[in-house]
Symmetry: none
Subunit: 198 residues, 4 copies
C-alpha cells in the first residue's frame, strides 16, 4: 500500500551525494561474484552486494529486476570470461605438448585465483543442476571448452579431457589430503592413448 502522501515539510537533508557513475551496473555484477565467492549463493543478498559495490541499496533493484536476474548475468559473465581465457591459452599453444600442459594446469588449479573460480564454478553448477534456466550458461560454457580443446584434439578426446579436468580438479579441491600431480599426467596419458590424430 503506497505512501499516504504526507504534506511537504521543511527539508534539511544533509546534501545527498549523487554520483554520476556510468559503470555502476558492471561494478554490481563484479561485486556479486565476489560476494558469492565469499558467502555462496545461499548467503547473497542485495544488501551485501550493494555494500561490496559501494552503491546504494536502491540501485540494486533499479539496475536488476531481482536477485535472480543479477545471478544469471553474473554467472554468464563469469563463464564467458573463463571460456575466453581458456580459449586464449589453447590458441597460444603451438604444439601438442603445449596443449597438454595447458590441460594439466587446468586439472591442477593451484592458484588462489583458481580457488575462487572453483568455488564460483561449483555455485553455478549447483544452480544449473536444479534450475534449467542456468543450463544455457553451462551448456555454452562446455561447448566453448570443447571447441577450444578441438583446436588440438579430436571431438571424443576433447570431451573426455574436458570431463576429466572437471572431475580431477574438483576432487583435488574437495579432499583434505594432497593429491599427487602424477595422477593428472596419468589421466592425460591414458585419454590421449586412444586419440585419433587431430
Amino acid at each position: 500500500m503506497p505512501d499516504p502522501r504526507p504534506e511537504p515539510e521543511a527539508a534539511d537533508a544533509p546534501r545527498p551525494v549523487r554520483r554520476h557513475d556510468p559503470d555502476r551496473r558492471n561494478r554490481i555484477i563484479d561485486a556479486c561474484l565476489d560476494v558469492i565467492a565469499e558467502v555462496g549463493v545461499a548467503g547473497v543478498s542485495h544488501r551485501k552486494v550493494a555494500a561490496a559495490a559501494d552503491v546504494p541499496l536502491g540501485s540494486m533493484t533499479y539496475h536488476f529486476d531481482g536477485m535472480d536476474q543479477l545471478l544469471h548475468e553474473a554467472f554468464s559473465r563469469f563463464a564467458q570470461e573463463f571460456s575466453d581465457r581458456f580459449r586464449a591459452r589453447m590458441t597460444a599453444a603451438r604444439t601438442p605438448e603445449q596443449a597438454r600442459l595447458v590441460v594439466a594446469e587446468q586439472m591442477l588449479r593451484e592458484s588462489l585465483r583458481d580457488q575462487r573460480e572453483l568455488i564460483l564454478t561449483q555455485e553455478l553448477y549447483t544452480l544449473a543442476a536444479r534450475v534449467p534456466r542456468y543450463r544455457t550458461i553451462t551448456n555454452a560454457w562446455m561447448a566453448a571448452s570443447r571447441a577450444a580443446l578441438e583446436l588440438h584434439f579430436d571431438p571424443v578426446t576433447a570431451r573426455l579431457l574436458d570431463a576429466s579436468v572437471e572431475g580431477l580438479s574438483l576432487h583435488r579441491a574437495l579432499d583434505t589430503e594432497p593429491h599427487d600431480p602424477a595422477v593428472v599426467h596419468a589421466a592425460i596419458d591414458r585419454i590421449l592413448s586412444g586419440a585419433n590424430p587431430a
Copy 2:
C-alpha cells in the same frame, strides 16, 4: 490473498500431541534433504524443513543447534548412504566386466533418483568448496568410493575412474543436449587401457 491463519472463533483443532516420537530427529534429517533437493541450500529454512517433516517449528532448534548442524548431519547421512550403496554394488560385481558396468551406470545416472542425488551431491560439493568443515564429508566419501573401486582396479585407475564418473555424469546433467553413451564407454576403455591388473 490466501487465508491460512484460522479465524479466532474456529480454533478448536484436534491437537495431535505426539510427545514421544523417537524417530523424529531422523525424520527431520530426511526432510531436510528433500527440501534441499527442491529449493537448494540457499532456500532451506527451519520452517520449510519443519513443514516437510510434519514437526512443530520449535522442534527444530530443540533437536539441532542450528541450521548448520542440521545441514552437516544431513549431508553426512546422504554421503554415507550413497557410499554404502556404491560399495554394495561393487562388491556384488564378480567379474571385471560386471565392475565395468557398474561404473558405466554411475556415469550415466539416468533415473529420477539419480537426478535428485546429483542435485544433492552438487549442493554438498558447493558447500565443501567454500567451507572446510564440509570437506571431512567429501573426503570420506571419495575415500570410500576409491576403496570400493579398488576391489577391482589398481589405486591410480580407481582414482581416475572416480574422477571421470564425476566429470562425465556432471557434464551430462549440465548440458541441454543429449550425450552419446558411447563416450562413457570410450572413457572407461581408455582409462583401463593403462591399468595394472588388480
Copy 3:
C-alpha cells in the same frame, strides 16, 4: 534468500521485554480501524497500525497473513458492531414514533463518533465497490439493517428508509454548507406516506 547462518556471537541484547498479551490480536484490529479513520485505507501500513496498537512490527504478519486479511477482519468487526448497535436501538423503540426518531438520528449523524463511523463506512464501501470480497461484509450489513427496520416497517419501506439514511447522511457529510434538519423529516414523511402497516 535466507540468512547465511552467521556464527553465534556474544549476545548482549538489552533484555527484550516479552509480554504475554492474549488480547493482542483484538487490539491490532481496533488500532487498524483507528488508523483507517485517520489516514484512510490508502494510508494504512503495518508500521502505523503496529505503532497505534503498541505491538512490535513483527506481530503484524504473525497475527495476520497480510494487510488485506487485516482490513477484511477490521471492517467485518466494524460492520458487525454497527449493525448490533442499530438493531439494539430499533429493538428498544416501542412505538412507531420512537422508531421514526431512531431513523432520523441515523440520517443526521451529528456526533464526533458519527463522523468517525461515516469515514469508516465510506472506506468500506469504496473497497467493496472495487473488490468483490468485501461485498460479503456490505451485503450482511445491509441485510441486518433492513431486518432491524422490518421490526417496525414493511420490507419495501425498510429498504427505502435504509437507502435514504445512506444518501442523506452522506450528502450532509460531503457538503461544506449546513443542511436543514427539516429535509430529513420530509424524507421520512414521504417514504412512510406510502407504507403498508407493518
Copy 4:
C-alpha cells in the same frame, strides 16, 4: 522471473522523443482516473499513472506538484464531466415523466461505464469524508445535481431525489444479490407524492 530490463548491449531503442505534446497534461489526468478505477486511490502511484498515460515518469512531477494535486484535478474533472452530462440529460427531458425516467436510470446504474463511475464516485467521497479540501468538489457536484433536478422539481424534492439516487444506486452496487427495480419506482413515487409543483 520476468526480464523487462534490457541487456546493456541491446540499448538502442528507437527513442520516440515527443518533445512538444500539449495534450500530455490532460492525458495524465485521464490516465489517473483509469488507474484509480482499477486499483483505488490506495494503489495509485506516479509510476502506474505514467505507464497508463504512456509518458515518462519524470513528466509526472514536472506537470504536477505531487500526487495530491493530481488527484484533486482528476476528481474535479470527473465530477465536472459527470455533472455536465447529468444536466444535459435533465435539460433534454421535456416532460415530468421524462425527468422521472432520467432519475430512475441514475438509480439503476446498469452499464459497465456506470460501474466505473460508481467506483470513482466512491473513491472521491471517501477522500472528501476525511479531507476537507476535497469537499469543495463534492459540494459543487451536489449543488449542480440539485440545480439540474430543480429544472423539474421543487428544491426539497430535488434534494430528496438526489439523496435517494445516491443511496439506492450505492446499495444496489454493494449487494451480492440482485435488487428489484420496482423498489426504485416506489422510491420515486413516494418522494414525488409530497412534492410541490415545480
